[in-house]
Structure formats: structure tokens, C-alpha cells
Symmetry: C2
Subunit: 205 residues, 2 copies
Amino acid sequence: MEHLSETEQKIYQAATRVFIHHGRDGARMEDIAKEAGINKALLHYYFRSKEKLYANVFEQEIRKVVMDLFQSINLELDIQTFLHTFIFTYIDRLHQNPFVVQFMLWEMRSPNTLIREIFQKIFSDDQYSPPQKVVQKIQQAIKNRKIRKLEARHLLFNIIGMCIYTFIAAPVITTLFPELKVQDKSFITQRKNEIFNLIWNGIKP
Amino acid sequence: MEHLSETEQKIYQAATRVFIHHGRDGARMEDIAKEAGINKALLHYYFRSKEKLYANVFEQEIRKVVMDLFQSINLELDIQTFLHTFIFTYIDRLHQNPFVVQFMLWEMRSPNTLIREIFQKIFSDDQYSPPQKVVQKIQQAIKNRKIRKLEARHLLFNIIGMCIYTFIAAPVITTLFPELKVQDKSFITQRKNEIFNLIWNGIKP
DNA sequence: AGAATTTTTAACCAAATAGTTAAATATATT
DNA sequence: AATATATTTAACTATTTGGTTAAAAATTCT
């Protein structure tokens, strides 16, 4: 993203927080302005409209989602270490930005063609196609009989589903199991271990 | 729910569709009225306010979520059949009402005390505490050495996470893997099998 | 049949919210 | 120093949206 002025960056960061926490429909331009510590008119001076600001934020956050996946992949590792590294790193990165995935999934529900185009553009960039890389790594491991025969894409969905559930369902888990501290590092560490153990025990030859 | 007039039922059903697809903030009273085929003033005549209508809908939908879990549990089965039945039935029920879980998780994010109270009231009813029943069943199986030692609650989170990911991430899966028909029965059947196989292989002694 | 009550509607109001504007201020350029 | 441009603001406008109302119509009751 090209150089932004300090005010633009403040707006961008405030908008990101408000959009992620409230969704597009729940976000108020007045709230974004207050969060940024500026007059509301400046939002339109720099970004023209709520829709443009939102599209801007959505695109940057999708890039972060892709980067989180990308940074969790190390194709040089053997499959067991690969999956271990992927799960542990991915959950760590989700933990640092726990609301963005749910924001993305929620916004992707709407028949907003702009959002769909942004998403497709970012994920279809061949350099940034982490889901495909993970699927290919799994398929290769199956071919080399390092793991049992299975549908690679479904394994990917299963891994991602378990990892993100931790953060998406945090309010529900907290209500049903108040003794579990979903924000604590120990809970997160246990999640990682339970997920990896289930995965590895479930697919090893 | 006590007897409703035909108009009230039409309003309720329309409101459910609009709230579930758009969320509370994205739902418009005018849209609900149009969907119900009535004048907007009737919404207020019967339900007093958007907030009351929303709370009513949220409560009924949470009851459905609880019922879906409840109907997927059969404690008389051995652990392997229990998990198989739970996963297959739960996914079937999610498939029939694929948007409600994401609606619930999204709305549970907001610091809306009314929503939290509704949720807690429904899930804490001892008769309807499906998550606890699943956890207890798993703990008993561990104790009886029917499955390996693990944290029962985390296994529950893993199962639920994989099942609901199918529907929550449908727009994303469709974009990344267009050849996968996420609405097709064959995809759903494969999801069930892959999830169960991963689970059982991952926890059997 | 007439009265009472309930249901429904078109029209309207009040509040919320995105967006705009004229002017002031700050910064950059000549 | 003067001018041009960029940034910022208070105040405002336009539109959206939840909610209200008076009256008509339908239904129920006596």
C-alpha cells in the first residue's frame, strides 16, 4: 500500500477496528471518526465514501488472512512437522488478530460483487495461493504413503475449521464453559496440541 | 411458543429470514414487511420494536441450534456409533438450516446483554445441555478405555468446528474450489465421512 | 343491527446516519 | 511576503430507517 499520511493511517486503523468489530452494516462513520480522533468530514475527504473505505479495509484484511496462511506454511518440512508447524503458527497468528476471519466469513455472505471480486483477486494470485499449496503438500504425502489415503481438500477444511472455531466461538465457549479461559495462552496451547494430535493420529499410516 | 395468528406467523418467518441473512444491523423493517407481505406498521403493532422482534427471533433460533445438537445425540450407543451418528445427524440438520449457526456466532460477538441472557438461559437449561452431554459421553469412553486419553471439551470443539465450517465457509470454499459443489449431497456426504474418519482414527485406542 | 374491538393501512414524524460545504487553518511554493 | 494548495472543521443537507398515528376495514360480540 502506497505511502499514507499520518491522518490517513489513523483513519485506516480506526476504520479497521470498527469494521472488524461491528461489520459493515454495524459500523458508523461517526464512530470511525471518533476512534481516529478526527472530524467526520475528513473520512470523505480521504476516502470519498463509506463503501470505498470499507472496500479498502476489506482488501487489506484479506491480504492479512492470506499472509497468515502463507506464513504458516513450510513446504520443506516432512508432512508431520509441516502439519505441526502449520497448526501452531496459524493459531498463533489467529490469536494476534482473532476477529478478522469471522469478519471475512460474515462479509463474504453478502451478495456484494465488489467484495467477491476483491477476495477472488487476492486468493487467485498464484504466488499467494496457500490453500492450494497445503492441498498439494497433503496429496504428495498421500502419494508417498506418508499418510493414509484421504481427500486432501477436506483435510484442509477440517484443519482450518478446528483452528478458527477457537476464535469464532469464543463468546459461546465462554458462556458454556466459563472455567475455560479462551484468551489464556494455556488454553491456546492446549487447543494446538489437541488439534495436532487429532490430525496426526487420524491420518498417520 | 404460544398460538400466533396467521399474520404474526408470517411476520415471524419473514423476520427470521431477513435477520439470519443480513444480521441484526443489516436487517431493515421495511424488508421484513415486504417479505411478509404486510404494512410496516403491523410489525410494531405485533412486536412493539425492531429490538423485541429481533430478540424473539434470536431466542427461537437459539432453541433450534440447541435442538439440532440435542437431536444428534444418542447416549445409548457405543462411542464409535455415537460419534458417527452425532456427526452425520448434526451435519444433516445444519444442511437444512445452513445459516443459523453463523448468524448466532456473529450476533454473540456483540456486547448485547439481552442476547447473552437469552443464550445463557437456553443453554443452561439442564434438560437442554447437549454440549455437556457430549463431553460426559466422551469422558466416560476415555475412562472405560474405549478411546485414547484426551481433553473431551476440545474434542467437542473440534467436531463442532469441522461440522459448521462446511456451511460457514461455503462462499469461501466455492470461490477457492469452484469445482466443489458445496450444496450437493455428495459433497456433504464426503464431508461427513472425512470428518468421522479423521475423528475416529484420531481417537481410537 | 349496532357497538366494540381488532387488524390493517397510508401517510407521516423523529432520529439516525452518510455525505457535503463554506470557511478557517496549516503547509508548501513562488 | 504573497499566493497556491492541502488539510481540517463546524455546521449543515439529504437520505435512510425505526417508529407513530388517525382512520378505514374487518371481525367479534351483544
